[in-house]
Amino acid sequence: MELSDALAVAQARDGDANAFRVLVERHSRYLFRVAYRMTGNEHDAEDIVQETFLRAFRNLESYDGRAAFSSWLFRIAHNYSLDQLRVRKLKAAKSLSADGDDERSLLDEVADTTPGPERLAASGMLQTRLRAALAVLTEQERTAFTLRHYEELPIAEICRVLDTSENAVKHAIFRAVRKIRKAVENLEGEWAWRT
């Protein structure tokens, strides 16, 4: 019989690392999927997945079982990505104070990874634009949109992940959709070749 998340958590708390391994094997792929959509970057997504599970293991006692275990993981992942963003901003601020440029944004980082013209023309333009569109969202907008649009989590569950009100989640999703639509509209003139 398959070990439930709740039972696996209980056993892991009692020192059974194999029970924790069950949780890792069960949740790691879609946690990577969410992390990738939150960051648009494979390396960062891998880092988030690994750090999320380490933090989860070290803080198993604080999981109260009210939310799904996956939602608890999302919350850890979201908080970690916020931590990372703060670190990056701090580094960027230090760097910029030296060279006097404007603040480096996530969009700049996506632009930095934009592939060359041949690759863009071949297949990457849409993907690049979508990643760029997601990159202009705030962390809260990106997480709320990712969990609702891609993972189809109920609003109430997203509230628990983000630790905020239903109204705030809905507005985060609205803002995210507006920004993404704007980016998509700009694409429409360019991607006639797709249809």
Partner: protein, 269 residues
């Protein structure tokens, strides 16, 4: 007079909420959409745009993604290290805690000095294949400083071995360049053999078994061919994981480092 006033067009927010199934505006918007072609067109535009957003491709993970992730987690968190695959009844942290209880490993600290003295005696007399651990111990006893240094040598051997095993477990499965790991493993084989033989002679069966497992891995690694190394590494990696070697080595090191120094009054000579 009809008391239902014509509704204004649905706002973008309402359409988004409707699209995502939010309860509050859904009923009203549904009624309005049934009668308003303009809003239905707006909703179709929203669906089209969000459908485009759905095309964001997430890179596929390799088949062994979970296993590789677990290996990385185990390398970062000692309490997760060395655990076998799922579904193995009786394995797990609790059983390892039992195996590594003081009853089994209490003599490890004393043995550390013995092993290290034997190792160094062998090394400096070039009689590596025929160590004389008892004599070496006698020569080393009563020299607290020397014993600490020698215990540190055994600790270093275990740490070096652990690093190699972690390299094997964590290196990309497709890598063909194992020169560094092969050379380092070759350098550790002789010392490990000496430690193992001494542990066996002292009746430390569990410790000797760990060192024997380690020695087989080191030997296999040191003799791995330059060509086709990637294919050879997969079973070796599995053996390291299955035998929980990394975890065992780490526990041995912790026990070594936790050994209290014997008070001077306990020493003779």
């Amino acid at each position: 007079m009809e008391n239902v006033t014509p509704r204004e067009h649905a706002s973008e927010e309402e359409l988004i909420a409707y699209y995502y199934g939010c309860e509050e505006p859904a009923a009203n918007v549904a009624v309005h959409l049934a009668a308003c072609g303009e809003c239905r067109a707006s909703l179709e535009g929203l669906k089209r745009d969000l459908h485009v957003a759905s095309e964001l491709v997430v890179p596929e993970r390799e088949a062994a993604y979970e296993a590789n992730l677990w290996a990385r987690l185990a390398a970062s968190e000692p309490l997760l290290a060395g655990q076998k695959g799922t579904g193995q009844k009786g394995s797990g942290l609790a059983s390892w805690r039992k195996w590594f209880a003081a009853r089994h490993l209490a003599p490890v600290g004393a043995l550390a000095g013995l092993l290290a003295v034997a190792f160094l005696a062998g090394r400096y007399s070039n009689v590596v294949t025929k160590p004389e651990p008892q004599h070496a111990l006698e020569r080393g006893s009563g020299k607290a400083g020397m014993e600490r240094i020698l215990a540190a040598a055994l600790d270093a051997h275990l740490a070096d071995s652990e690093r190699i095993l972690l390299d094997v477990v964590n290196t990309d499965a497709g890598s063909e360049d194992w020169t560094s790991q092969r050379d380092r493993a070759g350098e550790l084989v002789d010392a490990n053999r000496l430690y193992r033989m001494t542990a066996a002679r002292q009746g430390q069966a569990a410790l000797a078994a760990v060192l024997e497992d380690l020695e087989r891995v080191l030997l296999e690694l040191s003799h791995s061919p330059e060509e086709g190394a990637a294919a050879r590494m997969t079973p070796l990696r599995e053996r390291i994981t299955d035998q929980e070697l990394v975890f065992k080595l780490r526990i041995l090191q912790l026990r070594l480092r936790d050994q209290p120094q014997r008070p001077q009054g306990d020493r003779k000579g």
